[in-house]
Symmetry: C2
Subunit: 180 residues, 2 copies
C-alpha cells in the first residue's frame, strides 16, 4: 500500500448551518504539492436500512428530496444521533419512516458516497423480523411506503425516480447476504 | 404522484472555489413551510465508467481520496467538461485513468448520491472493446489500475478500501446488463 499524502495545513473556507468546507494542502509521497477542498461531515455518519418483511418484500419510501427537487424512491435512512448506537439508530429510523421495528438487525457494510470530496460514511443495516411499531419523525409531510419484492430489484432500475446509488448498492448486497 | 413543494425563495448562504450552498424556503402541498440547505452542483454532472476487458476483467483504480484521507478502490470517474458529450467524457476519462479507449460505450443509467442535499448526477457508462490508448490526466501521482473479474464482485465487498456506493451499484447493474 502506498504511503498516504501528508496534510501540511487545513483551513475552513466556507461554512453554513449544515455544511463545512475545508481546504487542505497536501504533499504526496512523490513530492507533488496540491490543494483540495472537501466537506467535513459528522463523524457519526448515517444509517441506511434494508427492511425485509417475512413475505420477501423490502420496504422502500418515496420522499421529497430538496437537492434534486423531485420525489425520490429509496431505502429509509437518517443520521445517527449523539450517543446512539448504529443499530439503535437504524431501528429508530424505520419506526419513524416505515412504521416497523425489527427484532433482527445486521450491520452489512459501510459505504462512502464521494470519497474524493466528502468524509461521510453510511452504515448499511439489514432489518428483519419486523413488527408494526411507529415513532413520530420530523418529516414535513407523510412518507409514502412502497413494498417491493427483493427478488425483482432488477426492475427497479427502470423506475425513473429510483436513482440513489447507496440504495441500489444496499439492495444488491442484502440480496446476496440473504441468498447465502 | 404528489404535487412537488413550491420553492418560495432561495439564497446563497456559503460559497467556496468548489462548493455553493443554497438555502431554499419551501411550501409543501399540505401547507407546511420549511427551509433546507442544499449544494448546487454542475448541471453537466459526472461520468462513472465500467471498463470491461475481453477476458471479463473490469478495470478498477486505487487513488487517494481527500474526503476520507485514504486510498480508495473504485471505478474510474470524472466530470463532464463544457461542450462534451457524456460518452466522449467517459472515453476520455478511461484513457486518462486506466490507459484504454473503448470502441463500444453504452449509457446504462444515471445515479444520484445524496438527493436530499445534492443535485449532482453521475452517468454510468459501460465501456467494452477496449484498446490501449493513453491520455495525460491531471492527477498528482500515478493511478494504480486493478483488474478484477466481473463474476467475482461479491468478493469486492470484503476489500476494506472498496466502499464507494456508486461503484458498487454500477458493477451490479453492468453485470446484469451483460448477462442479458
Amino acid at each position: 500500500m502506498r504511503k498516504k499524502p501528508t496534510i501540511l495545513s487545513s483551513r475552513t473556507v466556507a461554512r453554513s448551518r449544515l455544511f463545512h468546507v475545508e481546504e487542505v494542502e497536501l504533499e504526496f509521497s512523490n513530492g507533488v504539492n496540491t490543494r483540495y477542498e472537501r466537506l467535513v461531515g459528522s463523524s457519526r455518519g448515517a444509517v441506511l436500512i434494508v427492511p425485509v418483511m417475512d413475505d420477501g418484500n423490502v420496504l422502500l419510501i418515496r420522499e421529497y428530496a430538496a437537492g434534486t427537487h423531485r420525489y425520490e424512491l429509496a431505502l429509509p435512512k437518517g443520521r445517527i444521533e449523539a450517543g446512539e448506537d448504529l443499530l439503535a439508530a437504524a431501528n429508530r429510523e424505520i419506526m419513524e419512516e416505515v412504521g416497523y421495528g425489527a427484532r433482527e438487525l445486521i450491520h452489512l457494510t459501510s459505504l462512502t458516497i464521494a470519497p474524493g470530496y466528502l468524509s461521510h460514511t453510511t452504515h448499511v443495516v439489514l432489518a428483519r423480523d419486523l413488527r408494526p411499531q411507529r415513532l413520530d419523525g420530523d418529516e414535513p409531510e407523510d412518507i409514502e411506503v412502497v413494498p417491493w419484492p427483493l427478488d425483482r430489484i432488477e426492475a427497479l432500475s427502470a423506475q425513473e425516480d429510483f436513482t440513489e446509488a447507496r440504495s441500489i448498492a444496499a439492495l444488491y448486497l442484502a440480496r446476496e447476504r440473504l441468498a447465502r
